[in-house]
């Protein structure tokens, strides 16, 4: 068995694959995030856009490991953190939770086909995007959590070395969905930091702003005392807070909304993260301040090469800040492309609707909106979840689940989950294409996919 040749520098910093996060209530199971995949790259901003209830925030929380009961990330999900330094550091600190994939492969005497035949594996090679079982890298299976029942890895293992061994790690990843305890804590802030929606409540009211920034500095950079105070003031200054030396001694209630959000961003930067997740950071702010914050983030990214994941429901903000955009609807990503294409050639009817409802982009005098609300995704998708609101819906939309497909066979870098695509197929062929694809990849025994991926 061979592991596909992969090189860190070509690979994205964070790879989200088949992420599924569900909330188990007594009444129903809500698939808040239902099988989404996307990448984050250093220096790039990936926007996630959608109405409220589309699963954006749960996606962010899944990446941070902040999904609370009764929610959890399901088996099959994988979020890889491909940062070599982190892998090296973590493998030293948490050697008991580190796995060298090659040696697991050596110990395993069956073939990949046997592996997929095992009763605890309820997925097909297509789930990972491969045709044949032989071509699926073992690392993918381990990362998605299927190695535990097969006895290949411990439930605790979360650091995977794909090239080299424990002393000379050339490649590997930290599997975020398998993190818990101490490595999870060290991942938060220091590797992936997050800025939350409401700046008014995301600072602790009883400690000074400086205190809260210094706390992060001490934790992640080991700065104390005077040094920390200086650095905190420098950070506040860097995020555009005037008179920073005085303001670090003030309490959050003495800051205005925009200033508070700047302070929260400064606090996130104090952790020196590789990835910054912004969950609607500007929604609570007025328009001018919103623009300032967006500029600030762009500047910071240029200086630090941060990978930013930016969540918003506002198409205008997306146009401003992102390089790539994922449009989310009812837990699924319905369209992915770069920002220019998204605005010049939106393909998914939902994206079109979102673009039409931007105030100012209208031709008529009335604002076009998409009627209705995002449905709660409380059952496995066997149809298009947008169908009830879709102006282009046709019969098959009720029966066939659209999967992410290239817009047309010759366009890379633009996928859309709608039965009307690929463009260069006629509708019947396209529907068939989707039907085949979803039959091959969908986890067909939903019961077993409910297993915890831990």
């Amino acid at each position: 068995m061979t592991i596909d040749d992969q090189h860190t520098n070509e690979r994205p910093l964070v790879e989200v694959r088949n992420l599924q996060t569900a909330f188990f209530t007594e009444k129903e199971t809500i698939r808040a995030v239902d099988n989404i995949s996307f990448d984050l790259r250093a220096g790039d901003t990936v926007g996630i856009v959608g109405e409220s209830g589309s699963g954006k925030s749960v996606t962010a929380r899944s990446l941070m490991g902040l999904v609370e009961k009764p929610g959890r990330v399901l088996q099959g999900s994988s979020v890889r953190f491909n940062h070599l330094e982190t892998v090296q550091e973590f493998s030293k600190k948490f050697s008991k939770r580190t796995v060298v994939v090659d040696s697991v492969a050596e110990q395993y005497d069956g073939s990949m086909t046997d592996l997929f035949g095992h009763e605890s594996v309820d997925i097909t090679p297509q789930f990972f995007g491969y045709e044949k079982p032989e071509s699926v890298p073992l690392a993918d299976i381990l990362a998605a959590g299927y190695g535990d029942k097969l006895g290949l890895v411990d439930a605790n293992d979360c650091i995977f070395i794909t090239e080299g061994d424990t002393d000379t790690i050339q490649d590997g990843f930290v599997e975020i969905t398998r993190l818990s305890g101490e490595p999870q804590r060290q991942m938060r802030g220091g590797r992936i930091a997050m800025v939350f929606q409401d700046p008014l409540t995301s600072l602790n009211p009883v400690y000074t702003v400086g205190n809260q920034i210094k706390e992060a500095l001490r934790l992640h950079q080991g700065l104390k005392g005077k040094e920390a105070t200086q650095e905190a003031a420098r950070l506040l200054d860097a995020v555009g807070i005037p008179d920073a030396r005085r303001r670090i001694k003030e309490y959050p209630h003495q800051f205005s909304g925009g200033m508070r959000q700047r302070a929260v961003i400064a606090m996130a930067l104090a952790c020196e993260p590789e990835v910054l997740i912004c969950d609607e950071p500007t929604t609570a702010l007025d328009v001018t301040i919103q623009a300032q914050i967006l500029d600030l983030l762009t500047d910071l990214q240029e200086q630090t090469d941060l990978a930013i994941m930016f969540i918003t429901h506002d198409m205008g903000v997306i146009a401003n800040i992102s390089d790539y955009v994922n449009v989310m609807y009812a837990g699924e990503i319905v369209e992915t492309t770069n920002v220019e294409r998204l605005f010049s050639q939106p393909k998914h009817p939902y994206t079109e609707g979102l673009l039409q409802s931007i105030p100012g982009a209208q031709t008529g005098d009335r604002l076009t909106t998409i009627d209705g609300n995002v449905p709660t995704p409380n059952e496995p998708a066997t149809y298009c979840r947008f169908a009830p609101r879709c102006p282009k819906a046709f019969e098959e939309c009720e029966h066939v689940h659209p999967t992410a497909t290239a817009v047309s066979t010759d366009v890379e870098d633009h996928t859309v989950a709608c039965l009307l695509y690929p463009e260069d197929m006629d509708t019947t062929a396209a529907v068939e294409h989707h039907q085949n694809k979803s039959e091959q990849t969908t986890v067909d025994t939903p019961q077993s996919s409910m297993e915890v991926n831990q």
Partner: protein, 355 residues
């Protein structure tokens, strides 16, 4: 307005309150239905005695003079008991009876604080766990028992244990030995003498402790303190749980988590202090309840403390003593209010903040 200006303002506000209370007490006691002379001599007093007494008590002086005299006596604690301990200065009576009450009150505050609050915080940190259910239901049951009933029941149960009994232990023999479970604690386990430094200044200092007697007094006071603190314990448990629960789900705690802070730091630094804010008034308000409760509990456990003395003073028409005690209770309450503001000012920087 800064936090401390706000605090100072609250402090100054308590002075007019104090005078309002004095006036109110004067009206209640002097102009109320109790005839002080009758209270002293009983209804069969003769005319001459009555008149002499009226003169002595100044009851025929102009009202404003009486008021000033009354206010002065209260402020300086200079009145004299009429009936309960006839002709003794109020100050001496208070001095004798304050000890047991302070001792009782101290434990009645300490027990809930160190049992109710931690249990509540534990329940709030582990919501919907077994520990939470047990603590919450226990709190409700405990709260549902009125303290006069609880006092009687506790006495009955502890008496049963004398010489074994049904419960398999003997409270009298358990630990330091007790001869009786009711009565007034001795509080003679400390000795204070004047210590002089270089023969220049001398001041009183704790010079000796009788640990055995100390233990006896603690054991002695535990049952009444438990009864007196029972309502507070349950209230602190319930509100502590809610406060904790609200705080751990607040955004800044999630932010702290996202920062990668250790759970220990999150709980002790970010959660604890915020959860205390709603508890400050609960804890200080309970001290008010203690004053009322001590009247009942001291009566049931036969402790001659301030509460019981106050009770006697009221039913026997001992106006100066009752007035002074009421005035003292008022002082305590005003002090607690100031303490509450002070605690707020320390814990919550938003106090007094207006935009």
């Amino acid at each position: 307005m800064s936090r401390w200006e706000y605090f100072l303002k609250r402090l100054l506000l308590s002075i007019p309150v104090l005078f309002l209370v004095i006036t109110f007490l004067f009206i209640m006691l002097r102009l109320g239905p109790i005839d002080p002379v009758a209270a002293r001599f009983g209804p069969e007093a003769t005319g001459a005695d009555v008149q002499r007494m009226r003169d002595r008590l100044g009851l025929d002086d102009p009202l404003w003079e009486q008021y000033l005299q009354f206010a002065r006596d209260l402020l300086l604690f200079e009145g004299q008991s009429w009936v309960v301990q006839a002709n003794r200065p109020v100050r001496a009576v208070i001095y004798d009876t304050a000890g047991p009450t302070l001792w009782l009150g101290f434990w009645a505050i300490l027990l809930p604080l160190f049992i109710g609050l931690p249990l509540g915080f534990y329940a709030g940190l582990n919501p919907n766990s077994w520990g939470d259910y047990v603590a919450s239901i226990g709190g409700i049951v405990w709260l549902a028992m009125p303290n006069f009933w609880l006092a009687v029941m506790l006495l009955a149960v502890l008496r049963q244990t004398d010489g074994g009994g049904w419960f398999g232990f003997d409270w009298y023999q358990l630990g330091p030995e007790l001869r009786s479970i009711t009565g007034t604690p001795n509080l003679d386990w400390y000795s204070i003498s004047n210590v002089s430094v270089f023969d220049i200044v001398s001041f009183p200092m704790l010079t000796g402790m009788d640990w055995g007697a100390f233990a006896v007094d603690i054991k002695f006071i535990l049952p009444p303190a438990l009864v007196l603190g029972s309502a507070s314990m349950a209230a602190e448990l319930r509100i502590g749980r809610t406060a904790m629960l609200e705080t751990i789900n607040s955004n800044y705690v999630i932010t702290a988590k996202a920062k990668g802070l250790k759970q220990r730091v999150i709980v002790w630094k970010h959660v604890f202090r915020n959860a205390l804010i709603p508890l400050v008034p609960v804890i200080t308000n309970e001290a008010f309840i203690l004053i009322g409760g001590s009247v009942i509990v001291e009566e049931v456990f036969n402790i001659s403390g301030l509460g019981r003395t106050f009770f006697l003073a009221v039913i026997q028409g001992d106006l100066p003593l009752a007035g002074s005690l009421l005035f003292m209770f008022t002082l305590v309450i005003i002090f607690l209010n100031i303490l509450q503001d002070f605690l707020y000012t320390i814990i919550d920087p938003r106090v007094g903040y207006e935009r």
